[in-house]
């Protein structure tokens, strides 16, 4: 093995590109995710998140560029590398015809570092009987069971691809609680992919935003939120041409008042608005949800009403 390991990065891509015919799923992605803590990956549908995971796990060849996971080329993952990477997908795909006990026994034999206490701790949060068939579990129970299996493998890296999709509020809460507070998660880097900004806000140390296969942001969620600001300006007649507004993410005109969501604009934006004839200018902070969504919807913003 003469593969150089990039210390500290659990995931590293360089110039990673994946095309499906003419469609670009991942576009020259340079991503380096450090080990430790919880990283949230956020992006609209089709942003390339699932494609990225499939490339990283070696289930899809890249068109060009490099992809490494735990320092290993994704195309050459060995069984022992796979042991160190947990992966939970949104469907919580498990062998539905088997009992919980049988699935557990199988995983226990296959994963040398299996931790029964970790499994017991996590599964304890859910009302799962070992004699039940997996197909008889509710979606939430299945998610919990899947998480318990993944955590009991004691992975160094745990990738969760929209794990709470389709879960009800209670199940979602239980899932997050387990993820955040189980002892089994300690020392494990978690990649959390979600559409639910509420979850991201609760769990993420680091917010990674992908859009159209490209990386758009890597920072703690609060840092990103502080980059986006909401300005309310009373501008008689027409506002400035949206194309001239610096850092514009979203523009709305409500009852004659202009609302702008802008990125990376300081107090000088007030001056810009004044210069455009604004009489009264206010700056408001925005929620993470709004910041991320406006950032992501920027590409397909509705035309500004005149």
């Amino acid at each position: 093995m003469n593969e150089t390991r990039h210390a500290g990065y659990v995931i590293e891509t360089r110039g990673l590109t994946k095309r499906y015919g003419k469609k670009i799923a991942i576009d020259h992605l340079d991503l380096a995710i450090e080990s430790g803590s919880i990283h949230a990956i956020v992006g609209a549908n089709g942003a390339g998140k699932s494609t990225l995971f499939r490339v990283l796990l070696g289930f899809l060849p890249a068109t060009s560029g490099e992809a490494r996971i735990l320092g290993r080329d994704s195309r050459r993952l060995t069984p022992s590398d796979r042991e160190r990477i947990g992966f939970v997908n949104e469907e919580h795909t498990l062998q539905g015809w088997m009992t919980v006990a049988a699935v557990t026994a199988m995983q226990r034999r296959q994963y040398p570092r299996w931790s029964q206490p970790a499994f017991d701790e996590v599964i304890g949060h859910y009302n799962v009987q070992v004699g039940q068939k997996v197909s008889q579990l509710s979606r939430g129970e299945r998610a919990g069971f899947n998480l318990a299996l993944s955590l009991a493998q004691r992975p160094e890296l745990l990738v969760l691809d929209e794990p709470t999709l389709g879960l009800d509020v209670v199940a979602k809460r239980a899932f997050l609680e387990t993820l955040l507070h189980s002892n089994a998660v300690e020392g494990c880097t978690v990649i959390y992919c979600s559409h639910q900004m509420e979850e991201v806000e609760r769990v993420a140390d680091n917010l990674i935003i992908m859009e159209r296969g490209a990386l758009r942001n890597v920072s703690p969620p609060d840092d990103f939120r502080s980059r986006v600001s909401h300005w309310i300006a009373d501008i008689p007649f027409r506002g400035p041409d949206p194309r001239t507004i610096p850092g514009l993410l979203d523009a709305q005109r409500i009852d004659g008042i202009h609302h702008y969501l802008v990125l990376d604009q300081g107090e000088e934006f007030a001056e810009f608005l004044h210069a455009c004839g604004a009489r009264d200018v206010h700056r408001l902070p925005v929620s993470l949800d709004r910041a991320v969504n406006s950032f992501l919807s920027k590409q397909h913003a509705a035309p500004v009403a005149a």
Binding site: S37, I38, R173, L176, E177, L180, H181, M197, E198, E201, R202, V203, A204, D205, P221, D222, R225, I232, D280, H282, L284, P285, V286, S287, L288, D289
Partner: protein, 135 residues
């Protein structure tokens, strides 16, 4: 030794304030209103994180900020406690922050087109909780 005091605070996701800021604000408010008395022990980082279902790092950061501002003090190996009251900021800094708060408030009120006298009345009522404590 004081027992850990319950910290009945709520956080809201989707709020313009980050979760950490919400915790800081809530703890400050509880100390200011006297709900948390000096010497009271706060929940552990894990404990509060679990209570709120949030990332423990967020709680740790909020506690660090509160400690840095002098609201809390850390006792080695025991946990975090509400610090004895003292002047936490310089006079100039206090004035600056007060101006900032008033500015923000006035801007908000102005944008709301709310009659000033009613605004003052409501502000007076809101500040009452602080007065109660100093009384």
């Amino acid at each position: 030794m004081a027992r850990t005091q319950a910290l009945p605070i709520q956080i809201a996701t989707g709020d313009p304030r980050p979760i950490g800021k919400q915790i800081v604000d809530a703890v400050r408010m509880r100390i200011a209103t006297g709900e948390l008395e000096p010497g009271a022990q706060l929940p552990s980082v894990r404990g509060l994180a679990q209570q709120l279902t949030i990332n423990p790092n967020t709680v740790a950061k909020a506690y660090a900020e509160l400690t840095a501002e002098g609201w809390l003090e850390s006792r080695q190996g025991l946990g975090l406690y509400v610090a004895p009251p003292r002047q936490r900021l310089s006079a100039a800094e206090r004035d600056r922050r007060m101006d900032e708060a008033i500015q923000a408030f006035v801007h908000e009120v102005a944008a709301l087109d709310y009659p000033p006298d009613r605004a003052i009345a409501r502000l007076d009522k809101a500040l009452g909780v602080l007065a109660k404590k100093s009384a």
